[in-house]
């Protein structure tokens, strides 16, 4: 697996040669205009993804990580959701500027997504075979018969036992883990260049979780697709992610190579996340949860969003929002005291 260093500035228009990022999210902002006010769900996030790379986007629920994924897929509900700023470049072209038809052609074919809850994400009134096969029918113009044959092949690939018999079953007849495999089969059907996995294992049993993650990692090795893994589960991240972007209150607050971030966080929020998970070597010690709750996205404070919960917060943090800046090569942090945190 290759590990790419994130660019400090948005990359220039890529040439056809390798090394150019597959997907670039550039200063993306999304807000929801509701009857109760404007909710700023995503506030100027940027990241890149190269082929074969796994980027984990980490954060609590409501931090904007799923909204950003839906925006990339172009399936944000609008209204109430609106992209207010930024670009999403796929192979150098801005998805947001494409026609609806061009976007649809990319959706599922080049960029694909696996949702969290497979039971509700699969249509209850169609067989799984029909739902997987629909990808071939829509994008490849396959016949009903060919689509079904391809569906069986894919179900084999994601290791659903006796695929031939089960292709005509409905989603409710599968177990949770098998349903998620169906979702994955559907998402990888057309060999997409980018796969977004939005909390793919959250709804599953722990043992099944590991199997699904292994499957995703294996499929990625085989196909060389770029994988964006959205999760709040640090354990999952450590195993398969090359890089991490930590999100808090609609903003990326820290990025870096997985190992580096894990061993030495450069942002108190990341530090808190690390401290709040159970580890074998900490047996018998108390867990340290982060106190307080994330800010209301409809009324963001002027300073650092994390300041109210931050053990290191100073007057500066409350008054001035720290920008995301490079602290050491390949590491960026949005903390006024990033160097101190890193050294701690």
């Amino acid at each position: 697996m290759t590990s790419t260093v994130p660019q400090a500035v948005p990359a220039p228009k890529p040439t056809v040669t390798g090394g150019a990022p597959l997907l670039e999210v550039d200063d993306l902002s999304v807000e929801f205009r509701t009857d109760y006010g404007v909710v700023k769900a995503v506030n100027g996030i940027s990241y890149t993804l190269a082929a074969g790379e796994t980027l984990a986007i980490l954060g609590e629920s409501g931090c904007g990580k799923s909204v950003s994924a839906q925006t990339i897929m172009g399936i944000l509900d609008s209204p109430p959701g609106f992209v207010t700023h930024g670009e999403i470049r796929f192979r150098g072209e801005d998805l947001l500027k494409m026609s609806a038809k061009q976007q649809r052609d990319i959706r599922g074919e080049e960029i694909s997504i696996v949702f969290q809850d497979a039971l509700s994400s699969l249509n209850p009134v169609f067989t799984v075979g029909a739902q997987i096969g629909e990808m071939f029918r829509r994008h490849r113009g396959a016949s009903r018969k060919d689509a079904k044959a391809s569906a069986i092949e894919l179900m084999d690939k994601v290791r659903i036992p006796s695929a031939k018999e089960r292709v005509n079953d409905y989603p409710h007849q599968f177990s949770g883990g098998m349903r998620q495999r169906v979702m994955i089969a559907m998402a990888i059907a057309l060999d997409p260049a980018v796969l977004i996995a939005d909390e793919p294992t959250t709804a599953l049993d722990v043992t099944v979780q590991a199997q699904i993650m292994d499957l995703l990692a294996e499929l990625q090795r085989e196909t060389g697709m770029g994988l964006i893994l959205i999760t709040h589960d640090l354990g999952v991240v450590g195993e398969i992610a090359d890089r991490i972007a930590v999100m808090y209150a609609g903003r990326i607050v820290e990025t870096g190579a997985t190992d580096a971030v894990f061993t030495a966080p450069a942002m108190p929020y990341t530090e808190g996340l690390m401290a709040s998970i159970a580890r074998v070597d900490q047996k018998g010690q108390r867990l340290n949860p982060i106190v307080g709750a994330p800010p209301n996205l409809a009324m963001l404070p002027p300073g650092c969003e994390f300041a109210p919960r931050c053990p290191r917060a100073t007057d500066l943090c409350v008054a001035e929002r720290p920008p995301l800046r490079e602290i050491v090569p390949g590491r960026r942090s949005a903390c006024h005291y990033a160097e101190e945190v890193l050294g701690a």
Binding site: F32, T34, D35, Y36, P80, L297, A298
Partner: protein, 343 residues
């Protein structure tokens, strides 16, 4: 074995059967997929908190109803409907305030002015007998309001009592009720009413009310029974039971207040449907009989004159429709206010 019992029964459905299920199912819920601040969660949370003892049940109820009231006061349609119904109620109680002529008085009608159209000294014109049609229509409100309220009140009480028993205890009584409601639902409301009313040689207010109550209570029963069953299995009822509350106390104190909202919404809308049903029956000549003053009768009397004197049909029709509409709007507003999901 899964037999579905459709809980929202068709009310047989009068042609005027605004009492039917559609409106109840129809949440005009907006489409805000609540952002992190969606108030839906807040309300749900407020409603979910405080299970257990009687005190917090009261608190939960109080907040549901006071929230509903706050919401209603801001709903323009509710205000319009409430105002119209207020006017119609006053009209029903004191028609003399609106018209100096009482259509039942001798000499109120001059045959010479039969079928004359609307004009400045007779706003709605005259009917066949030459009576002032404005006075006719004003005095017609009383019958409609009485029948609407009596029938819905009666069938609601019967439906709630039997529905609570059927839902709470189940067993043979529940089965019996299910079969009886099946039979009544199999019979179109209007046809059933015609059959029942045919039994009586003289038909007045009491007979019409009776017929409509007989056909109306099963809907309330099914609605309330479903609510009771849903509430019966909640944690706070289990808690009350664990603390030794009697069945009667559980029903009255815990289940009734929580199950009453859908019934109340249905009942409000049903008043409109019943008023329309009475008018339809009277129009067909099988409901109230002359000399009763009823919009249905007035419309029926103008039936043959639609070419020459359409005003005889028009004015009572308009009043009838506005009355039904008001109750429907009121019920709609009530439903929106009482359903936390639509906030």
């Amino acid at each position: 074995m899964s037999e579905r019992t459709p809980e929202k029964g068709p009310v047989g459905g009068t042609p005027a059967g605004s009492t039917d299920s559609g409106l109840l199912l129809d949440g005009q819920s907006g489409g805000e997929p609540g952002g992190p601040t969606g108030t839906g969660d807040v309300v749900a949370h407020a409603m979910a908190s405080g299970h257990g003892d009687d005190g917090s049940v009261d608190a939960r109820q109080a907040s549901l109803w006071s929230d509903a009231w706050r919401q209603l006061r801001r709903n323009k349609l509710f205000l319009i409907a409430a105002f119209l119904l207020l006017v119609l109620s006053v009209m029903a109680m004191f028609p003399g305030l609106f018209s100096s002529i009482n259509p039942s008085d001798r000499g109120a009608c001059q045959l010479s002015s039969s079928k004359l159209g609307p004009r400045s000294d007779a706003w709605f014109g005259n009917d066949i007998q030459g009576c002032d049609h404005y006075a006719n229509v004003i005095y017609g409100a009383r019958v409609s309001m009485i029948i609407g309220l009596v029938v819905v009140g009666g069938s609601t009480i019967i439906g709630i009592v039997l529905g609570a028993l059927a839902g709470f205890f189940g067993g043979w009584f529940d089965t019996l009720m299910a079969r009886i409601t099946d039979i009544v639902f199999g019979l179109p409301l209007l046809l059933g009413a015609i059959l029942i009313l045919g039994v009586f040689p003289e038909r007045g207010l009491p007979q019409v009310c009776l017929a409509l109550i007989v056909l109306g209570w099963p809907t309330t029963l099914r609605l309330f029974r479903a609510s009771v069953i849903a509430v019966k299995d909640t944690d706070y009822v289990a808690a009350a039971r664990a603390m030794g509350a009697t069945n009667g106390r559980i029903i009255v104190r815990h289940i009734l207040p929580n199950a009453i909202a859908p019934v109340l919404v249905y009942a409000t809308i049903a008043v409109g449907g019943i008023i329309a049903a009475e008018a339809t029956l009277s129009f067909l000549g099988i409901g109230l009989q002359l000399p009763a003053v009823s919009w249905g009768l007035q419309i029926g009397s103008g039936q043959r004159l639609i070419r020459t004197a359409p005003h005889i049909i028009f004015f009572p029709s308009a009043f009838l429709s506005v009355t039904v509409l008001s109750f429907i709007l009121l019920g709609d507003a009530l439903r929106d206010a009482l359903d936390p999901k639509t906030r």
